[in-house]
């Protein structure tokens, strides 16, 4: 899919977290996390449509079945709702399933289990049961994925009590957040973005966890705060680079976890910069943009020097054709333009 890849590769991105570790790909980092988890905890399972097929879930599950066996790494029927419930039931009885989906769109088939069951049992039975499971999916974009194969649904889940949602933006975090998610005793959704899959980054070899619920500052700046997660951080960082060349210093805050949200990292940055732009890979209406924007108005109001800005998808389904896609998806120039608007406001 060269059209896509051309676009993806044109995104210049500074290596994050230079330090201990080797340069490896995002996919490799996920594969390593799964390997460590399977290796160190016999209760970990990896399941999902095609996790053992030649394309191996973008490569993230490559080799796992050979190494850990058919029992622990397995393909599933096309029954998203049941397999989500099966994962919850297994989790309630001592296993730690990692249920992987090619696309978040398919998770919508399982909302009854994901929303009304898995995250509520622990509360409903007064703490008798825990439901340590991971639901993993990679947001599609481009190459004509279209309206039914590119939905970013994380914003829909912000109001679901008992659920945690992480969205890594670097290979380092992809490994560390996935390990944290697998070891967490709650249902955790891990939403990846396809455009991150081939990025390289520095990844420590040892097992480590990136704490769930804590954001990180990716770039310091005094003029405004750009907040986001996952691929939005890549776009935000590019925009920040554009802005820097114009003398505007943007701080880039990577939420890493969107539920529970690290409110203080956002509010502290806002305190310094006074301006907030929220960027998300999903629709601008509702979702992360709305939540973080409202948070600023609610708890950071005294620091706000300008209106809150949001950059996300317009209120339309994703078109399939690549020309329409280019109008549809926000990019660094558009983010930078929104930031300039806030600076003028």
């Amino acid at each position: 899919m060269p059209w896509d890849e051309g676009l993806v590769n044109s995104l210049v991105y500074d290596r994050p977290d230079p330090g201990e570790g080797r340069v490896m790909s995002y996919v490799g980092a996920i594969n390593e996390a799964l390997t460590i988890a399977l290796d160190s905890d016999p209760s970990v399972l990896v399941l999902g449509q095609g996790v053992d097929d030649p394309s191996a879930m973008f490569g993230t599950t490559r080799g796992l079945q050979d190494r850990f066996g058919l029992r622990r790494v397995f393909d599933t029927p096309l029954s998203e709702e049941a397999m989500m419930g099966v994962s919850a039931g297994a989790a309630m009885n001592g296993m730690r399933p990692v249920y992987m989906h090619n696309r978040p769109d398919f998770v919508l088939l399982a909302f009854n289990q994901l929303v009304t069951h898995a995250p509520k049992f622990h509360f409903m039975d007064n703490g008798q049961t825990t439901v340590p499971m991971v639901v993993w999916a990679a947001i599609g974009r481009g190459w004509g994925s279209g309206a039914q194969h590119s939905q970013a649904i994380h914003g829909m889940l912000l109001g679901v009590p008992g659920l945690k949602i992480v969205m890594p933006s670097t290979p380092h975090d992809a490994k560390g957040l996935l390990l944290a998610a697998i070891m967490d005793n709650n249902p955790v959704c891990v939403f990846e973005h396809r455009w991150l899959m081939k990025k390289d980054g520095v990844v420590p070899e040892r097992p480590y966890r990136v704490p769930i619920g804590k954001g990180i500052c990716r770039r310091r700046g005094r003029d405004l705060t750009i907040v986001g997660a996952s691929h939005a951080i890549e776009l935000g960082a590019q925009a920040a680079a554009l802005l820097a060349s114009e003398g505007i210093e943007a701080e880039v805050i990577d939420l890493r976890t969107i539920k529970p949200l690290d409110e203080s990292i956002v509010l502290e940055s806002l305190h310094r910069t006074g301006r907030l732009l929220v960027v998300d890979t999903a629709w601008a209406t509702g979702g992360v943009c709305a939540e973080v924007g409202c948070l600023a108005a609610e708890k950071g109001f005294r620091d706000l020097k300008a209106p809150v800005g949001r950059v996300g998808l317009p209120d339309a389904p994703a078109p399939a054709g690549f020309t329409l896609e280019q109008f549809y998806y926000p990019d660094a120039p558009r983010i930078a333009e929104a930031a300039r608007g806030l600076m003028r406001a």
């Binding site: 029954s79 919850a88 309630m92 009885n93 622990h122 409903m124 039975d125 439901v131």
Partner: protein, 345 residues
């Protein structure tokens, strides 16, 4: 208003059906089953009577008329086996060895209810007795029970899972998905369908074409049978066979038992007069009350006398009075309880 015609008739042998199964069983065992059914009946009646006093602020779904399935089914289980049910929890909970006090406390919204007043009547869960999970969403517990069976299989535990479902539950797609997965994996699970011909006030024939639920289940590639649901011994026998199959690693079984609920779908009292089912239909089934016919059989076989029944009734009444008193004297949860167990540690 003239009564509507009878739609669903009892097709079993009533009291004539016991001899076949009773022969080889010790009297205490048979009397135990009778006592267990009687106890559930009296508990349900007490709940029903007192429901009108408004102390139990919870939706109830009585099993009066369906004691034969709950008791017969659970009599085939061991303590370590797991039961999952839907909204209609009382029979399963009690038959699985549940704690009456904990149940009544739950129904009275007390902090020492089996789930601390978080679940109410539809969500009785008690891991101490293998009442492993309930869902008020029809079909919601089915894949979860399937996942529990997967966990048992993977961990090599000598544990069978049973899920009690209704006729309408077979209309939920997730049930088909779960049967497929259970059959595919040869899971140690029994899907026990109490076909009481109604879903709330909707009769079976406006929801399903004329076809056999058993055959439908069987077509998913698993063993399936029908059993007379008012015959506690037949139910126990069929379940034992299914459980033995599961324990031997021979996979899942689906059991369809025709039964009848003598009361409304929910709440206290019958509602046949509202016209959705014939009063005569209910009466015809009441004539084959699972407790009365089994009691009649035991009496005619010389295993049960008036004095023994009177003693049983007395003990049960005392237990019920005591448990209600206990519940009514128990404390309510406080505001501090509200936010506990949203997330597990």
């Amino acid at each position: 208003m003239a009564d509507r015609p009878i739609r669903y008739r009892y097709a079993g042998k009533a009291a004539q059906g016991f001899q076949r199964f009773a022969a080889s069983k010790p009297p205490e065992f048979l009397i135990g089953l009778y006592r267990s059914m009687l106890r559930i009946r009296r508990i349900e009646e007490a709940i029903e009577r007192r429901y009108r006093e408004d102390q139990m602020k919870t939706p109830i779904h009585l099993v009066i008329g369906q004691e034969g399935t709950a008791v017969g089914c659970c009599a085939a289980l061991r303590h370590a086996d797991l039961l999952y049910t839907s909204h209609r929890t009382h029979g399963g909970y009690l038959a699985k060895g549940g704690d009456l006090r904990a149940m009544l406390c739950e129904m009275h919204c007390r902090v020492n209810g089996c789930v601390g007043s978080r679940g109410g009547s539809m969500h009785l869960v008690d891991k101490r007795v293998g009442m492993a999970g309930t869902s008020a969403i029809v079909g919601g517990a089915v894949p979860i029970a399937t996942g529990a069976a997967l966990a048992a299989q993977m961990k090599g535990e000598d544990r069978v899972v049973v899920t009690l479902i209704g006729d309408a539950t077979t209309e939920e797609g997730v049930t088909s998905e779960s049967l497929n997965f259970a059959a595919l994996r040869g899971l140690p699970i029994v899907f026990f369908c109490e076909n009481n011909f109604y879903s709330v006030q909707s009769p079976l024939d406006v929801r399903q074409p004329p076809r056999s639920i058993r055959a439908w289940a069987e077509s998913h590639g698993m063993a399936a049978c029908t059993v007379d649901g008012v015959n506690v011994l037949a139910v126990r026998e069929a379940t034992s066979a299914a459980v033995a199959r599961a324990r031997a690693g021979e996979g899942p079984t689906f059991i369809e038992a025709e039964v009848y609920r003598f009361r409304a779908h929910g709440g206290a009292g019958d509602d046949s007069h509202t016209g959705y089912r014939a009063v005569a239909e209910r009466e015809a089934w009441e004539a084959v009350c699972p407790i009365a016919i089994f009691g009649g059989y035991l009496t005619s076989a010389g295993l049960l006398g008036d004095a023994a029944v009177a003693e049983m009734e007395g003990r049960i009444a005392d237990e019920i009075d005591e448990a209600f008193a206990f519940a009514l004297a128990s404390p309510y949860p406080t505001e501090a309880d509200l936010l506990r167990h949203v997330y597990a540690e």
